[in-house]
Symmetry: C2
Subunit: 258 residues, 2 copies
């Protein structure tokens, strides 16, 4: 009951390490009730209660420094303190949820194809990570409602789109040594475009718009998975594609039969 425990006994009873008790002593958070002449620490039941307090507050996410203050201050606005702490924790939780979401999406894409281009992978993560910033950024370039629409896709459609995008990007990178007018390339470019169309409706022009914008002074928000050379190659391929498409459209508009 009213016994004195050596630090070893006390640490076993409380499932706390000796080092931790030393540390709390050093901080002045929990001084043992009795210290022998030659410096040995002895704890009592009273100290146990103090330790419980410390552990409880630590569990709630307070730092040892804050706990020390609580112990010293007479007045402690519990209500305010608790709800503040709650906010902190909720934020942390949301942050973690974002990470989990990103991991899930990455996993979904990686699951069948165990190999993935690092650059494509990184771009994907960046896209997920900066979804919100990107939303704001994109709103500067295309219609706001459209942006909201893009990001309000149902979960699984989003996943499928991402998957397709990864596949196409990967394939395109593989073909980067072919001529940009090669049919295989043009097919992929076409697929890429129709993927974009799925998102943007039929506003093909928006692709051009975006690529023409000035971004000199801004922070580099994201980069494509393609190198500078690949980007140029793709730009050419895209030009070719649009030209042919234009012709094709004209054909359709003019004479229905080729």
């Amino acid at each position: 009951m009213g016994e004195n425990y050596s630090i070893g006994e006390f640490s076993k009873k409380t499932a706390t390490t000796i080092r931790t008790l030393h540390y709390y002593d050093e901080l002045g958070l929990l001084k043992p009730s009795y210290v022998s002449e030659k410096g040995r620490r002895y704890y009592t039941d009273k100290d146990f209660i103090t330790l419980q307090r410390i552990l409880a507050l630590k569990f709630l996410g307070y730092s040892l420094e804050q706990i020390k203050e609580f112990f010293q201050k007479k007045t402690w606005d519990l209500m305010h303190s608790l709800s503040f702490q709650r906010n902190e924790m909720v934020q942390k939780k949301e942050q973690i949820e974002n990470v989990i979401k990103a991991l899930d999406r990455a996993l979904h894409i990686v699951e069948d194809r165990n190999e993935i281009e690092p650059s494509v992978f990184i771009t994907l993560i960046n896209t997920i990570q900066m979804e919100n910033e990107q939303k704001e950024w994109l709103k500067g370039y295309i219609d706001k409602d459209l942006v909201e629409e893009i990001y309000s896709l149902p979960e699984n459609e989003q996943l499928e789109l991402e998957k397709k995008w990864v596949e196409l990007s990967t394939e395109l990178k593989k073909l980067a040594d072919l001529d940009h007018e090669d049919d295989r390339v043009q097919v992929l470019i076409g697929d890429m475009m129709s993927l974009v169309n799925d998102l943007t409706g039929d506003d093909l022009a928006f692709v051009q718009e975006i690529s023409d914008k000035e971004v000199e002074d801004e922070i580099w928000l994201f980069h494509s998975p393609f190198t500078a050379e690949e980007e140029e190659w793709m730009a050419n391929a895209l030009d070719t594609y649009l030209k042919r498409k234009g012709v094709h459209l004209n054909n359709e508009d003019g004479t229905k039969e080729s």
Copy 2:
């Protein structure tokens, strides 16, 4: 395009502090493409891509050390790595959710009564924190199904019970200088008992059972909000209560009218 950026320019473009870039250089994570004779660092677009990779992986919760390894290793089991990371994050999330739950319950109790006995408060947090450990512990003493039943109460009932428990504990502590046979004390003890009854059905004996158990060698899992003296006082009050109740019960059993 293919420019060289000073560390200041680069840090602005990438929204990364200079110190961070210094640090990554030191770790060998991101060495600037070019270093002048007198030690000035100059970065290029290639470095930007590397930085993006670092940031993306950091976002997913990897340490800089791990990221360094990823960069060095030829083979990188992405699938396994990602799902492992997912588990880690989910655990973290659950931990935080527990904390939030505890904060919510504490807030609910504190909300009207802005003042609360520290000892009562700590006990409450401990109770919440160690709910699972307690469940296992209690199962050693009372019926397992009963334990499950206690903890499977609907959310709001749980909250109300806790609230009542805090109120009663607080009131009891206030009356601790009165005689344990005082009627006001006995009323509170009665309330406490009926609260316990709400949880345990009519098994009054279980209170006795628990208090008689040996706990000498075990880790101290929890403590009551009462001091040693208060506990003795309460034990006496409880004795008195049970005795009177016994008489009363006998009365009821024997002669229905007093």
